[in-house]
Subunit: 378 residues, 2 copies
């Protein structure tokens, strides 16, 4: 807080308060909002009128209520209000997800493509245009676009400093695509999706493994991304510093020891589906491959827990599918290496979200920004 | 923010604002405070009167100023206001530090003793009494006591869950000592001392090595200690998971690979003073011992930087003394293992504070609590 508290802050605060109450209990009357927020009815009415004018809130049917007294008109988040568009540039696919103000998915698509070529920018632009066309067909406005990428994104500039698996280095994606976009790390967006639409835990590290290994940290219901937005980088955590050479040049990185590629290599297959069917059949080679990866993952995650003091690990992406076979060896490693497990065991949770967590989180983050009072942009 | 903004919040906010302005520029007039804070002169006067009544602020000499107009009386933090008492229970010493409202040290003492016995509680109680006697002799009130311990302290309860080098397990130190104390991890207090009285960096990890290795994280000028206050635990970071057995039972922990004991063992000496004199003489065995430790420390710190995205490392305690010999191999390891060093090298800083950083931080934290508007307790 760097200045005195004044009118502007109070109005913004009250507006966010009312909007949150409407989001938490759709179909609420102005009197109900006054009771829920502690604001006067006059203040609530003035705030609600402004929210209706901004297209964020819509009046619905009169509140059903018995007994005497005038029945209040109820309000909800507007179904035709601004929608959030999330786009994900994966290593071998593009995905989009369109959500309304309540966070409900209205449209989504995944298109497989090898994005390790300079054609990725043209392709993403076309894909974005098709997503916008879809929103137009649905008759809903796009209130903002967030793009998820598998790389280090500097939060102050939105520049993708490094995305090794895409071969990117200092890419200003918004400039390349020509538009106003918010760009973020896919693992962070996946963690936010987990927070908003998944397990509902307030504090956790979400770890998911596909081509790379990504982690997103949620502490006190907020994303923790470090000083410049580059936090949660665990793919190249040196779990076995004198071990085999990683593609990054270092030795024994977590990605090298417990990534999907290594698991498949050890199991002697090239497909996750086949791996899982072999695991279900109790194939010893497959089980030992996943057990070995789980141990290294446990070493890496014990470091995260010891350093950041986070009481739960959520497995997402491919790790969620492998959870039945990862669980035991991973927990054993955490138990041995995390001091606090003696009185407070680390919870291990399988994410209920599928592989679309990152793009869903990107879309939902647009809505959160709008509801928090940011100006809906394009 | 969970309720509407009201009068109480505004008054607290304004009081903290004025107090901060007085702390930042001692000898300021009420008019100067109004200009610095943006508050009206009437508000400033009422806030200052309350602060004087609470003994936090004292009126001083009239402001020296040329030109016409009435000269205002200036105010400063009161030199006879509540003092902060910090106590440190080290593995082989007790220390206290008494600071005034400006953070200046008024008294300090270190007493060597082996604290790995149950006698530590009685001894600490006596030591505390002697510190209080000293404050009494100086004629200053003790506004609160913070105790630093080398262990995991749960922030919600103040219980020392684990202090392996003291042999403690679930120790409620405040109850054992019979008083109202705030108990915290010594590495966290050392990091706060570094923030308030050291290098002045806003974001850093402070790492210090004596019998154990402790780290304190400061992000955005605030201590980051994770969900339950247990964060920053790096002593048992598994830097070499298939390496030699650590006292904790695991293999190749950072403390086992780069702790003071291991450095001395590799160098073939039992004293840090002798180690340093050998290093200054260019003794090859001593240099190689520190170089080896620096590499493991670099591996551990690269993990911290990658995970928490912190742009600077501050070396404290014994590491500060060894900094000239640690620097090069440690930076080389960070450069190889931290992705962001390509565009933004990690700063390596030697702490200007001595081994008394933790106890100084504990004392200063009492003052910060008082200035932030907490009720001065005992």
């Amino acid at each position: 807080m760097i200045g005195p508290a004044g009118q502007h802050t109070v109005r913004q605060h009250n507006s966010a308060l009312v909007l949150r109450a409407i989001a938490d209990g759709p179909g609420v009357s102005r009197a109900g909002l006054a009771a829920a927020t502690g604001l006067t009815k006059a203040t609530v009415s003035s705030v609600v009128d402004a929210l209706i004018a901004a297209g964020l809130v819509a009046e619905g049917e009169p509140e059903r209520r018995n007994g005497p007294g005038r029945r209040g008109t109820v309000v909800s988040l507007s179904p035709t209000g601004p929608h959030g568009l999330g786009v994900e540039v994966g290593v071998d696919y593009l995905a989009y997800c369109l959500v309304d103000l309540t966070g409900a998915v209205r449209a989504e698509e995944v298109r497989f493509a090898d994005n390790r070529t300079p054609r990725v920018f043209r392709r993403t632009k076309d894909f974005l245009a098709s997503a916008r066309k879809r929103a137009e067909a649905l008759g809903v406005p796009v209130g903002g676009v967030s793009i998820a990428v598998p790389g280090l994104v500097e939060s102050s500039t939105g520049v993708v400093r490094l995305a090794p698996n895409l071969g990117w280095h200092d890419v200003d994606l918004a400039a390349k695509l020509g538009g106003t976009f918010s760009v973020g790390n896919e693992a962070n967006f996946a963690a936010l999706a987990e927070l908003w639409h998944g397990s509902g835990l307030p504090d956790f590290v979400h770890v998911s493994g596909e081509i790379g290994i990504g982690a997103g940290l949620v502490l006190g219901r907020s994303l923790f991304e470090g000083v410049r937005g580059l936090g949660g980088e665990i793919g190249h955590l040196p779990v076995n510093p004198r071990g085999p050479r990683c593609s990054c040049g270092a030795q024994g990185c977590l990605e090298r020891m417990a990534g999907q590629e290594e698991i498949l290599r050890l199991a002697g297959t090239s497909s996750v589906d086949e791996l899982i069917s072999r695991l279900e059949d109790g194939d010893a080679t497959a089980v030992s491959a996943v057990t070995e990866a789980a141990r290294w993952l446990g070493i890496g995650l014990s470091t995260v827990v010891n350093l950041v003091d986070v009481p739960a690990v959520v497995l997402g992406g491919t790790y969620a599918r492998l959870e039945p076979w990862l669980r035991e060896p991973l927990l054993a490693e955490l138990e041995q290496r995390v001091a606090s497990t003696a009185w407070s065991p680390v919870r291990l949770v399988r994410s209920p979200l599928g592989t679309g967590a990152a793009v869903r989180g990107a879309a939902a983050s647009v809505i959160r920004r709008i509801l928090a009072g940011a100006h809906p942009g394009n």
